[in-house]
Symmetry: C2
Subunit: 339 residues, 2 copies
Amino acid sequence: MGGDFGPRVTVPAALQALASNPQLKLLLVGDPETISPLLANKNAELLSRLQIIPAEHVVSNDMKPSQAIRSSRGTSMRITLDLVKSGEAQACISAGNTGALMGLAKLMLKSIEGIERPALMTLIPNLKQQKTVVLDLGANINCNSSMLVQFAIMGAVMAEYVTGVDNPRVALLNIGEEESKGLDNIREAAMTLRNISAINYIGYVEGNELLTGKTDVLVCDGFAGNVTLKTMEGAIRVILSLVKSPGGQQKKSSWLMKILKKIFKKWLLKQVMKRFGHLNPDQYNGATLLGLRGIVIKSHGAANEHAFKAAIDQAIQAVEKQVPDRIAARLDAVLPKSE
Amino acid sequence: MGGDFGPRVTVPAALQALASNPQLKLLLVGDPETISPLLANKNAELLSRLQIIPAEHVVSNDMKPSQAIRSSRGTSMRITLDLVKSGEAQACISAGNTGALMGLAKLMLKSIEGIERPALMTLIPNLKQQKTVVLDLGANINCNSSMLVQFAIMGAVMAEYVTGVDNPRVALLNIGEEESKGLDNIREAAMTLRNISAINYIGYVEGNELLTGKTDVLVCDGFAGNVTLKTMEGAIRVILSLVKSPGGQQKKSSWLMKILKKIFKKWLLKQVMKRFGHLNPDQYNGATLLGLRGIVIKSHGAANEHAFKAAIDQAIQAVEKQVPDRIAARLDAVLPKSE
């Protein structure tokens, strides 16, 4: 019930998700007095699959994670994660404070054995009309090489079961393609990955390949991942804004030409959006906190209804594909046993 | 005379630069037998301002920097840097091996006092029709906080004298805007910058602001800088390719509609390019190795004629604006004296 807009975005998104997923049941954790009016006069069948779980408090967006965790009792975030822990819910979706969600989720749900620290992962649409699994996006700004290897294994599982790629290509984000390039942890992770036969490791990939679909899984530390994702989103938004309002000098045109130009501009924009829309960051949403013994999805705080529904859809997929179990099984098979 | 295409790009670019800069003199360092034929039948006045300096060898692109430096005697890169060192040339422009150029330039020209390590800097066009100074782009993948502070000072000098901004805004690239965010070296650099009154430090900026012109100078370590620059370039290229070929289903149109659509598509594209073209990475080129006691410009290896001329223009600007001297003076004024 957090995020920048609260229930007036999340509740309509929840109703949309219920309408398009007949098996779905949703628990809305938050203030009943705010939520209930938004459900008035809605379809009874949808409402029958929806339940309000009262929560008195909310983790505020500007709270530091450590502080938020200490004072989390009674917050919607804590109650939701409790529901996942107890098995009453199969996934938690939140548009709230990212740091608090990661910290609290890790504390309450615990990491899968073999995972040092969970990673934020998202699916980025690419030019090949597929999706690229990218992680970590900011959960861990300092990563040693074994964490990068764990991210690679989790990413490969995501690509195999969620984006549906056989033998997914896994690459490390770096600033050159030669083996000798980059930071020590990246080079060390490369050496390890080259020796794991279950991983289709293809080497280093640079930032300019983020959208080209050169790799199915792109692994990086949380700092670089955040930089590359935000840079890409920023660049696309800038270009999109320019495409939407190109030029301004149409003074010499007659009224007929003006109308014709307007019509064809609309038509061309539609064509552009048809091919380009899937890359528009407003059209996708939801980062999964991978590596936990439970499913936790982080929505953009500023997500609109459509975007928040995308985050719910991502949770549904993770539940259906049993992502945490698949990751645990893969780690068990790939990594050397600790005992 | 290096780069992916050698003299058949650099020589015509040199002639173009001579034509548009009547004061310019150029020394072409390389194999006379390859260069001379490309100068046949060219304008005599231009040729009078051009001189070929013979070089027997070239630093190959796949050589490691250390190896390239050891065996640099007689290479065009080494001879060019020697000309800069001796004052016979005022700037070196190369499309060759980046690592070798950086290593050799540092060895031969030395760093300005107060600069631990030179940084690669480029000017990125932004939405405000201005340019953003971004550094480091990959010369130093591990940077301590004092290096970041030095980059900030050098960047501010560039913005002031080259892009012509009064009291330029300086920001650190980070993964959040809150003070507590990011890596230790970034937070430490922020503390220092906040206390340097000569620097207009505005705080952290995220990757999505790279093109918006929120800051005049963006400071980062070479790894993050390389990632953000390449991600931006890649995203723009991808979108540009989509804008250039939108949609494909025009089967239902009549021949007249097809022709009309074609005409208007061209018109709209022209409008888009008019506003967007300055952000196209193919339209700018040239990274300056800032912090040396001399001017060294690195062109993209794959630069075409137009792009290589842009690198020459960047060198001319650096010479005219006396960038190394300005940096030395600013460091002297801002940083505490070591003696």
